[in-house]
């Protein structure tokens, strides 16, 4: 693999984004109470440069970096690519790197770890010392974790998990969060810790390198520390925690250490979510007790403001879910041409292109997709043929409206795994994470006669000879039309 020059820390990423015009420095004072969140939200909705807010009310020395990966340009920068790279190019690079040999992380000495520059223990631990923002007006609390990694380790298997489980500050030592039962951490809690009444050690890393955040967000089967290495082309640098045996990214801006409590819960939510709504009910949820805080000098807190499209939750989840499904389907020998999830679907619809060489391929794709670890995060699969450009919504929408048979092409799956965040779900379904799924099969049936049964697309490129097309295009401006780019 050629040398990758991806930003190795959030600081390097901020600098790279400022240099390319993909981030702006905001020097005037910004209030952590709604104002910072509103800036980030507007940036997401307008698709503008990420705000690096250097002067936070009540918190001298701290800064915010908002909307870190809410554009494909910033995603390309995070991978060390040209910011002008196209989505297919970025996807191809992601697949190349994540299909390479795993790169194990290295553990460094704590004296070399920037995240240990300040250490709060005992009575000094107080989350109110950090500039935890109120992201949306009306949220259930100030959210510590919106773009971060919650680090845990399976007590038996030893698997390390970095997950982006949202965390709300309840008081100076307590956080509550949404941990879904089908998630890696959710399963570890319900299978092991809760039945035994044991606390689960955790660490929350905030202000990660963009590729560490990407790994924490991606539903990949590869352990996240190794995935970071594969994405960045060099080992992730980890350091041991102060109060437990977990290891955290040494270059992170802020680390919280503590225990997930097995026998005590506080309320969490409501919160503005990636679907573009506040959907999941306020409830007693997984509760984190913080025992240590470590942070860099002049630490930067990263903020993701989830809401209507498009933010990095939608961008990155749709990006990684689509590519991980592509890997899964190719591994099963399905003759796909590609997989794309439009961020504006708030990662709910998977579009799969396939060469329809045998009957039932759309159902096979849907079963694999919904039945996989990726499945809980989306509820629609649309399968189109290999002649449809999956990145062109106009083409996909045309295929959907004209080829999906209302009676034969729509397949509904009930009582599947779901999330409390589905806006369409009933209150009962939200409470118990019950989902429903749908397949839109937009393929011509293989038992139709391709000459006499399959309709012929009527388009400029399809019905006219090459000679006529060339004649018309070469004379286009002579006819009086402006040139076509």
């Amino acid at each position: 693999m050629s040398k990758i020059s991806a930003p190795r820390s959030n600081r390097e990423f901020v600098e790279a984004c400022i240099k390319s015009g993909d981030a702006v420095r905001i020097k005037q004072q910004v209030d952590w109470d709604n104002e910072a969140g509103a800036i980030v939200r507007r940036v997401c909705e307008l698709g503008q440069a990420a705000p690096f807010m250097e002067n936070i009310k009540d918190y001298p020395g701290f800064s915010y970096f908002g909307a870190p990966l809410s554009t494909y340009r910033r995603m390309a920068i995070s991978l060390g690519m040209d910011p002008a790279s196209t989505l297919p190019e970025i996807g191809k690079e992601y697949l190349k790197r994540t299909n390479s040999e795993p790169i194990a992380p290295v553990t460094i000495d704590r004296k070399d770890a920037p995240c240990k520059e300040n250490i709060l223990l005992g009575d000094d631990v107080d989350l109110c010392k950090l500039p935890v923002p109120l992201v949306h007006d009306g949220d259930g609390g100030r959210y510590v974790g919106t773009w971060h990694a919650v680090v845990t380790k399976h007590p038996v298997r030893g698997d390390v998990n970095w997950g982006m489980y949202r965390q709300m500050m309840w008081d100076g030592r307590t956080m509550s969060g949404a941990v879904f039962p089908f998630s890696d951490l959710g399963k570890a809690l319900t299978e092991y810790y809760l039945p035994r009444g044991e606390g689960c050690p955790f660490a929350t890393a905030i202000g990660l390198s963009p590729l560490a955040a990407m790994a924490a967000c991606a539903p990949s089967p590869i352990p996240e520390p190794e995935l970071v290495g594969m994405l960045s082309g060099e080992p992730a640098r980890l350091v041991k925690c102060e109060t437990n045996d977990l290891e955290v990214p040494a270059d992170a801006e802020i680390i919280l250490e503590g225990v997930i409590l097995p026998d005590y819960k506080v309320e969490e939510g409501p919160f503005g979510e990636y679907t573009g709504y506040r959907t999941s009910p306020r409830d007693f949820r997984v509760t984190f007790r913080v025992n240590a805080i470590t942070y860099r000098n002049n630490a930067t807190m990263t903020i993701s403001n989830m809401g209507t499209p498009q933010d990095e939750g939608q961008m990155l989840r749709s990006f990684s879910l689509g590519l991980e499904l592509e890997k899964l389907l190719r591994s099963q020998g399905i003759p796909i041409t590609g997989v794309y999830m439009h961020p504006r679907s708030t990662h709910h619809m998977m579009i799969v292109g396939v060469k329809p060489t045998y009957a039932g391929v759309a159902s096979q794709i849907a079963h694999l997709a919904f039945g996989s670890k990726l499945g809980p995060w989306f509820h629609m699969v649309m399968v189109v043929d290999d002649k449809t450009d999956i990145y062109n919504w106009d083409e996909v929408y045309h295929a959907f409206c004209t080829r999906c048979h209302p009676a034969n092409g729509i397949h509904i799956y009930k009582n599947t795994v779901g999330t409390p965040l589905y806006p369409f779900a009933t209150p009962h379904e939200r409470k118990y994470s019950i989902g429903s799924k749908v397949l839109f099969d937009c393929l011509w049936p293989v038992d139709w006669d391709p000459i006499n049964d399959v309709p012929t697309p009527v388009s400029f490129k399809n019905v006219y000879s090459k000679e006529i097309q060339d004649q018309v295009t070469s004379n286009w401006t002579a006819y009086g039309y402006p040139p076509v780019k």
Binding site: Y59, G141, G172, T174, V266, T279, R282
Partner: protein, 84 residues
């Protein structure tokens, strides 16, 4: 005077003239703003009944027009002592 806020599904949960157990958060300015306490308290729609004020949010964060005064009788510590 302290400013407090509570989340409820229905304002009718805030019954006057009786002790209630509520999770409330402070709206007082400063770095503690929005931190929670579990308390035993009484509320009243008469805003001058008690010294502290309480505003109400509904299930999805909507601010209710209902306003109360509130008297915090005591803080309730539900967290097991072994974690404190």
């Amino acid at each position: 005077m302290n400013q407090w806020e509570v989340f409820v599904m229905d304002v009718a949960e805030l019954v006057e003239g009786t002790d209630l157990e509520l999770t409330i958060r402070t709206l007082n300015p400063g770095v503690q703003k929005y931190t929670y306490k579990r308390v035993r308290a009484q509320v009243s729609t008469a805003l001058d009944q008690f010294a502290d004020q309480l505003q109400v949010r509904l299930g999805r964060g909507q601010l209710s027009k209902a306003r109360f005064s509130i008297k915090v009788i005591e803080e309730i510590q539900r967290c097991p002592a072994k974690y404190l």
